[in-house]
Symmetry: C2
DNA sequence: GCAAAAGTGTTAATCATACACCCATGT
DNA sequence: ACATGGGTGTATGATTAACACTTTTGC
């Protein structure tokens, strides 16, 4: 048989990462200001080319480490974008991944190829290069849809958290306020949380019970 | 700036299609027996290489037309598979799509590269080449999850159908039996169906009301 | 008239929602 | 003592699940 692999021209493949940050107050997204063309000096999602010897996950972890300093985060595949003109350099596919992290846990380190790296409030995104606005939009929709029936993103908070913190996260992602008592019931009924028996003290009010995710 | 696109070796990219068929009785899946290596004489999903000038959808439609004769079907992206050794020829990614069709509507035409083309009952799949068993599995799970809150796959039945036909489709995909009355209520409550006023006659029992999808 | 599949309504159980008061701590 | 956020239960409405008999046709 012919070596089919060499017959066809191959597209370039990138991995783009939508990293959501939640600091206890608001939902943000990590963007990188490109140093080089195309889209020099514009904001984009952190991304990079897939190497042949690495899986998508490995590539995503490498790219994030190199470009942002963030290591070892929990990623999930979002969608693969293949529009013909999404990249002015030629045919470039993007396998998009997304994650939700606590920005306070990471020290951002601006990589070689970037002017700047910044957490942007989700409500105030700048305009983005490539088709990254569309990717970010889809990621947010996926996150909101998913959190409704799977309290995802627990591992992405601190190991221990109060009910209010968890609720604030949900409210941020869903963009609506929730009833405290009903939220508490629903979370406990899910069976995915348990009380640690400890409390968060030192605030100017009654200490709050701490919960953790059941593995 | 350097031409980044030429710096990196590029993976090959294929599109693989999970085409579910529903003939009114059982759920099946369309498989192709490969003529050539790798996996010669083994069953696999119909798939092929992405060309640079076509979108994923276009590629999927072209591939299905060429390899199976099926044209113009409604496809949805499933997932992108990137395992390092999924293809013995080298690094080959697969952007998987899935669809649900009525097999009776299509005349299968075996393409050049195949020994045979056949609808397999979903319950009796043969072993599949590449990682296609995994892809098929994921597609079925996606279909089942989706049909729960979106009565998808209506366009994929005949334009008009009876409630029992629709119910049988759901039961097939979900793998469980449903209550007729509750199913009827749920479907009508969804607002996505309407009665056509016509009936399916000529069977050996009471004629059934025909419904159609509301656009 | 008998077999085969179609049509249909009520009840009970479950789940989701709305809602307000008291408690523990820091200052 | 007061301000702040934490913890909790109940009543109502909405949704979902269980369940069986009568009807229309072909043979």
């Amino acid at each position: 048989m012919p070596d089919e692999l060499s017959i066809y021209p191959r597209p370039s493949v990138t991995i783009d990462c939508v990293v959501f940050g939640y600091d206890g107050e608001q939902l943000s997204i990590l963007l990188l200001n490109r140093r080089d063309e195309p889209f020099a000096n514009q904001w984009t999602l952190p991304g990079g080319f897939l190497h042949l010897e690495e899986t998508f996950e490995e590539a995503a972890q490498r790219i994030l480490k190199d470009k942002t300093g963030i290591e070892n985060l929990f990623l999930e595949q979002l969608y693969t974008f293949g529009g013909l003109s999404r990249d002015p350099r030629g045919r470039v596919l993007s396998v998009a991944y997304y994650a939700l992290v606590n920005p306070a846990k990471y020290q951002l380190m601006v990589g070689q190829m970037a002017n700047e790296l910044r957490w942007f409030n989700w409500k105030q995104l700048p305009s983005l290069g490539f088709d990254h606005a569309q990717i970010a939009q889809l990621a947010q929709a996926r996150l909101a849809a998913k959190i409704q029936y799977q309290p995802i993103g627990f591992e992405l908070l601190n190991a221990q958290f109060t009910m209010s913190e968890l609720q604030a996260l949900h409210e941020c992602i869903l963009g609506e306020t929730l009833d405290r008592r009903n939220f508490h019931k629903r979370m406990m009924a899910s069976g995915l949380l348990r009380s640690t028996g400890e409390r968060r003290e030192g605030l100017k009010s009654r200490p709050a019970e701490l919960f953790e995710f059941i593995p």
